[in-house]
């Protein structure tokens, strides 16, 4: 089972061999690396605009809704196309000194596509638990703290807004990781967030995480939409 890491900007893995995967929502840069003997796809969160749609997708054409700075559908779909079933979204610059696994999240982002599904009711994915429990467990086993709530806004908030949230016990604030997580669940991928200090090398931590990841998924993430995500892909896609 392949692990995918989603991170903003260039990967910190040495000797990178950058590749690209095409999705209907944009091209995604990634690197294939080996961590602790496991294959890991290290994806860049921000997709490049794809000029030519991939004809093998049968998904409804992307709606011309609101101009989006980040279309998280691209990176979630890329993880799925690369064969990953477990995804860790890495969040930096959230003001932590040690790695943290959030216990829950609140999302108030806007202008980002939030679903692959317009029909079938498949987009009504449960958020209980909000993150994959097995992935979160593996991250905790690698030494990450837990218990806090992650707030996702469009941008980092101003002082007064931050104070309002801090007064409600919400101090982990980031513009990243949602709706990426919900989109991963729509594709029946396991997803968990790892909040790390800016500039921290996370490869050693991930080596421990990989050792603790389950070989067979026992969580509910693999049945979140009853397999309906396969309808988004052409029949020649085997993953």
């Amino acid at each position: 089972m392949t692990l995918a890491i989603i991170e903003t900007g260039k990967s910190q893995i040495q000797n990178p061999k950058s590749q690209r995967v095409d999705t209907p929502f944009g091209m995604v840069d990634y690197e294939q690396v080996a961590i602790n003997g496991s294959e890991v796809c290290w994806l860049d969160r921000h997709p490049l605009k794809s000029q030519i749609p991939n004809p093998k997708f049968q998904s409804p054409k992307p709606k011309a809704q609101i101009l989006s700075p980040v279309d998280s559908r691209a990176v979630a779909m890329a993880a799925r196309l690369l064969g990953a079933e477990q995804v860790i979204g890495v969040v930096r610059d959230a003001g932590v000194e040690r790695p943290v696994v959030p216990a829950d999240f609140i999302e108030f982002s806007s202008g980002r596509p939030t679903t692959f599904f317009e029909t079938m009711g498949a987009g009504y994915v449960q958020q209980e638990p909000p993150f994959c429990p097995e992935m979160s467990q593996a991250l905790r086993a690698a030494g990450a703290e837990t218990g806090r709530t992650l707030l996702v806004l469009d941008e980092l908030p101003e002082a007064a807004e931050r104070a309002w949230w801090n007064g409600r016990g919400v101090s982990l604030i980031t513009p990243e990781s949602q709706p990426e997580g919900a989109l991963c669940r729509e594709l029946e991928l396991c997803y968990a967030v790892l909040v790390v200090p800016a500039g921290m090398q996370i490869a050693p931590l991930l080596a421990t995480v990989v050792a603790h990841l389950p070989v067979e998924r026992q969580c509910g993430c693999g049945t979140a939409v009853g397999g309906k995500w396969k309808l988004l892909l052409g029949s020649d896609v085997t993953h």
């Binding site: 101009l67 999302e107 982002s109 009504y124 958020q127 908030p157 101003e158 007064a160 669940r185 729509e186």
Partner: protein
Amino acid sequence: VQHVQGEQIVEGLLVLKGVVIFGGTAAYHIDPADFATVVERRVVETPYGPSPAFYRLEKSLSENPKSQIPNPKSQSPISNLQSPHPKSKIQNPKSPTPSSIWYASRHGEGKLERSARFVNHRANLWAARALGVEMVLSWNGVGAINPALRVGEMVVPAAIMDWTRHRISSFQEEAINRRERGERREEKSEEGGARSVERGIGLFLAEGAALREAARTIDHIKNGRDPRQVANPFDERARQVIYSVLRIPYSESDYTQYAIGNRQFPVYVCTEGPRLETAAEIELAAELGADVVGMTLCPEVWLAAELGLAYASLCLVTNFATGRKQIDPRRDFGPSVAERGMNVLLAVAKRLTAENAEDAEKKREEERGIVE
């Protein structure tokens, strides 16, 4: 019969030219012909695309409707109304009958065709207005936040929190473009620190208010309710009639059993979706006073207000919200939700419309009785 329109409905007497019932959760499981005689089926071409099928329902229900009602689809072909130019004033088409009750399903027919996020609210409301209705009644499946509620209960929301982020909540072009261009942040920096706190959490309410303020300048909206007064989009008189149909004695104290603490009116929070909310989001909504959560009512209520349509919603509790399922773990999204919604709202619609002048006069007498 002198008909009242728009804002006057609130103060005046409730005898309306037309009412539309929008079916929400589970509406795709039912056939309107099982509840009333379908006399007309119509798809309205709007500037925002074709509307869903609107069914005009006869008010007199037969004892055994299923046996007597022909298939509505074979009865009348789809007819289109002339669609007005998007920038022209809304034409008030001739209403074919003194009072008509229309029904349409938001999410499609037969199956769930559109999730709540993708309902074409502008086409729905435009069509309703073009059909000459004066009030929108809708039913919605909601998740309960208030622990005093139980699955299967109904509430009629009195206030709304708009937490949607992607939906077009105005007919007004400029406002829509502004929203699409994402100019929200600029406004924020002008407002300064204290205001930005409000925007931080009340940002969606504040933005809605700004949109509606801009929308006020548009010609076709001048005839509607003043959008500045749409802080509460729900029609109090319609709520009163719904409660009287539900045989809940109407007074503020009688339904505070549904409220959090000493809150007097049920509050609905509309989230973006389609993913369900997290436990932390529900906790926040509860802290801000929400009693039920759904994904459907916004921007329907704002659009209805812009067109001068009175609005009331019947919320049926289908489940408990995330993190509160231990209060009542049941889930009910089956046809019975739609059946209850349809039956209650049909009864309400019948109370609000009149078949002829005599009937209207009689109803006015009744209304006076209810009010006093």
